[in-house]
């Protein structure tokens, strides 16, 4: 019986030949090739920094609108606040595939997105004489600040809160929250701003050089892909699974705005942005680096990404209802996200580890 080449060996040969031949075309004419350094550069500038710049811009608009609502107390302005909360939230959710660096280590993530809301403490605070100064929220526990307390105040428990239901104290707290989210968004943007001293963008893009946290470019790209894998695990195994398994709508994260499906979709778009290296403008992403030597893998990642994002169209009711009435569809969503995760973890990551040598 002839010895059989194992799948691993075939893959190994394919990788070696693919990397060996990727620099030139069949006519021995040099072609433009994508280098890992370009992928790292464009991710840092065109995805991370661009996303955080947009976050700051949206948070500024949100704060202005909260100030306006505080004066007018109109339902129109409240509706604008709710929409701007969703717009700002959308940008934040699009950063969750690359939550590393200061946003993770300097308490910025829990500062803006902890959950659940500490309603008991919030009620006590609103009933107190505490003055909600600009910096008051800096010293409070994380479950009293950021997106979700603002969501709770803006939308109310049932999601249909009207302007007339607001107390003055709630509006004071809303103002403090708007200012806090705006200031924290600026801090997050600065942490990746190439013009700020000590910014993480320079640290990340100097991977492989002395002073960077990343000993190699490979490590920098591993960081990115591991983070992409992480949000797939969190959405499928945590954000969806926990309320679904418990059949408990109270475990839904964005329950007041009924925005969870949008949140999850934007989480997957965050993976997409990280892979394609673009956010508001085109960039050189991992897709181009992979595609030049392994078209089938690139196609597979793209197909799984699209499938994961599109799978949310199966859910036609708010997530809090879907965990009761559309369980089969939610399991299908989880399956698509898990398939994406498996490709990222089982194929893309090893491909980077084998192919990026510096």
């Amino acid at each position: 019986m002839k010895p059989q080449l194992s799948t691993t060996l075939i893959a190994a040969i394919a990788i070696i030949f693919a990397f060996h031949s990727c620099k030139k075309n069949s006519g021995n004419e040099a072609v433009v090739s994508v280098e890992p350094a370009e992928v790292i550069h464009d991710f840092a500038h065109k995805v991370a920094f661009a996303t955080y710049t947009d976050l700051e811009a949206k948070a500024n608009l949100l704060f202005v609108q909260v100030q306006t609502f505080n004066v007018t107390n109109s339902n129109t302005d409240l509706a604008s606040c709710k929409q701007l909360w969703k717009d700002t939230r959308a940008v934040w959710e699009k950063n969750e595939a690359f939550l590393f660096g200061p946003v993770a280590t300097e308490d910025m993530d829990p500062g803006i997105d902890d959950w659940p809301v500490n309603k008991d403490d919030l009620d006590t605070l609103l009933a107190s004489n505490q003055v909600f100064t600009s910096g008051f929220l800096d010293s409070t526990q994380t479950t009293l600040k950021g997106f979700h307390p603002m969501e709770y105040l803006l939308f109310g428990v049932n999601g249909i809160k009207s302007a007339s239901e607001f107390t003055n104290r709630e509006k004071e707290y809303l103002l403090a929250l708007g200012d806090y989210i705006k200031r924290l968004s600026t801090k997050i943007r600065k942490s990746w701003d190439p013009n700020e001293s000590g910014n993480y963008l320079v640290n990340y893009t100097s991977a492989g050089q002395t002073g960077s946290n990343y000993a190699t470019k490979r490590a920098a790209l591993e960081e990115l892909v591991n983070s992409m894998i992480g949000i797939c695990e969190e959405v499928s195994g945590g954000k969806i699974e926990e309320p679904l398994a418990a059949q408990n709508p109270n475990l839904e994260e964005s329950q007041f705005s009924q925005n969870s499906i949008v949140d999850f979709t934007n989480n997957m778009r965050s993976v997409q942005n990280a892979y394609f290296g673009d956010y508001l403008e085109d960039g050189i992403g991992l897709n181009k680096w992979v595609n030049q030597s392994n078209i089938s893998l690139d196609n597979k990642v793209q197909q799984k990404l699209t499938a994961a994002i599109n799978s949310f169209s199966l859910i036609t009711v708010p997530f809090g209802q879907a965990i009761i009435t559309q369980q089969l569809q939610l399991h299908q969503v989880q399956e698509k996200i898990n398939e994406l995760k498996d490709v990222l973890e089982g194929e893309l990551l090893p491909y980077i580890q084998a192919g990026v040598t510096d």
């Binding site: 190994a12 500490n118 008991d120 479950t143």
Partner: protein, 457 residues
């Protein structure tokens, strides 16, 4: 065909070398990259401390993942539909808030709030089990936060004084000496209250440390320094709540907890104010902050065990660049300095037929799990069971080179005063005085080599 097979053989060699598994390695030439034996994670990104053991059964992995999720969740004030039970007094709202990315906390800078650091407190004497005596009105830990409407127990203002230390070649380094002032206490603390600062330690690899045979640790102990090498090594014996007797202490900066379940249960209770089957009374019991509620336990036995299991089954990051000549040279200097006498490079875990993942593994934790006199500069002057005010448990060194990447800082030692590894070395005293002096006498190239070796861990 021959060419094809030649390529195939070449590929096998290339990939087999790069992908050799721990169990396939010859122990005599064991690759020291495998810091956690088979439970080693090859990841140089910021998730390096957060990998589950690779060979867990599907069921064990599911328990690990449940524990992972509960390690992350934030508690809120009761009553609440979900996650109730925070406080009334507490240090932080979740496990992950202090053990960020399963890694190391850091001290507050002057004027900052304490985020991933706390203070153990006591009054002089021993309690009925030989442990620290709780402070009336405060307990055994200063909770620096409280739910709204309740008074926090107190806060601590940290300030630092810079002090130069000179190497023999004339170069110098500045060390920051911390001082702590307890303030804003809800009632006056008793005079002479003892204070012990503690940053949150990393939580990976703990299951392997728990699996080190007690006999091995005791064999390393040399409390009376009978071999005369200047290094003693003393086991701590601490009160084991479930056993109802004193047993060997392993976890915490002074080895004050006997096992991961008690360590986890204690953290829930003291750090977050979450009652559980091991500590079923609020930490504020008897104080004015106590809410008087006869709460059922706020974390179930099942979840408590899952979270403890999570910390038991986190892999150890692999060493990097082990064949780099500079690192090899640095490792020799580490031994010449005598650092290895306490920071024991390797040990074999016990055979455990009930949990194969931790059984019979050669690991490289760089600790002897024993207490050592670290000198007056590091002393907290607060006894903790058998540990006196000068003694600390040898901290494991595995993974320290990834601290900056994972946690965004390189603060070391129990109170995080050292801002980098060289500062940490130079704070050593007591039994480590000779080792420190050895390093202080080294030329810069050798000092750099030593640091490079440590960074590879």
């Amino acid at each position: 065909m021959r060419v094809t097979y030649g390529i195939a053989i070449l590929c096998i060699l290339v990939f087999a070398y790069g992908c050799r598994k721990y169990n396939e390695l010859d122990e005599d030439t064991l690759d020291t990259r495998f810091s956690g034996g088979v439970n080693t994670a090859f990841d140089e990104s910021s998730g390096a401390f957060s990998h589950a053991f690779p060979e867990l059964s599907a069921n064990d992995l599911a328990v690990h993942e449940v524990g992972d999720r509960h390690f992350e969740i934030s508690f809120v004030t009761a009553p609440a539909l979900i996650r109730p039970g925070l406080g009334p007094v507490y240090n932080n709202v979740s496990c992950a808030s202090c053990h960020i990315a399963d890694g190391r906390g850091k001290p507050a800078l002057p004027g900052e709030r304490l985020l991933s650091m706390l203070f153990r407190i006591s009054i002089p004497g021993e309690d009925a089990h030989g442990g620290p005596v709780s402070v009336p009105g405060f307990g055994g830990q200063l909770q620096s936060n409280a739910v709204y409407g309740k008074a926090l127990e107190g806060s601590v203002n940290i300030s630092y004084t810079e002090e130069p230390v000179y190497f023999s070649d004339g170069q110098s380094i500045s060390l920051r000496r911390p001082s702590y002032v307890v303030q804003n206490t809800y009632i006056p603390p008793p005079a002479g209250m003892l204070l012990s600062p503690r940053v949150a330690p990393p939580v990976f690899g703990l299951g392997l440390l728990q699996a080190i045979p007690e006999s091995t640790i005791l064999n390393w102990a040399d409390e009376q320094d009978t071999d005369g090498d200047g290094i003693s090594g003393k086991p701590n014996y601490v009160w084991n709540l479930r056993a109802g007797t004193s047993t060997l202490g392993r976890f915490g900066w002074k080895a004050g907890a006997p096992d991961l379940l008690q360590q986890t249960a204690g953290a829930y209770n003291e750090d977050m104010g979450i009652t559980n089957p091991v500590f079923d009374q609020e930490s504020s019991l008897g104080q004015s902050q106590f809410d008087g509620l006869n709460d059922e336990v706020e974390v179930s036995d099942s979840i408590l065990k899952a979270v403890a299991f999570y910390t038991q089954t986190l892999s150890v990051p692999a060493r990097r660049n082990i064949k780099d000549p500079v690192n090899v040279s640095g490792e020799k200097l580490f031994t010449q300095a005598g650092c290895n006498k306490c920071h024991k490079p390797s040990v074999r875990t016990a055979v455990d037929v009930s949990f194969r993942a931790v059984s019979n593994q050669l690991i490289f934790p760089y600790t002897d799990m024993l207490l050592h006199d670290m000198g007056t500069d590091l002393a907290d002057n607060r006894p903790d069971f058998k540990a006196n005010g000068l003694e600390w448990r040898t901290a494991p060194l595995w993974g320290i080179g990834l601290t900056q990447l994972v946690n965004g800082h390189s603060n070391f030692l129990h109170d995080g005063r050292a801002r980098n590894l060289m500062e940490a070395i130079l704070w050593h005293g007591g039994e480590a005085q000779a080792a420190k002096e050895f390093v202080r006498q080294l030329p810069k190239s050798d000092r750099d080599a030593l640091l490079s070796f440590l960074a590879s861990l």
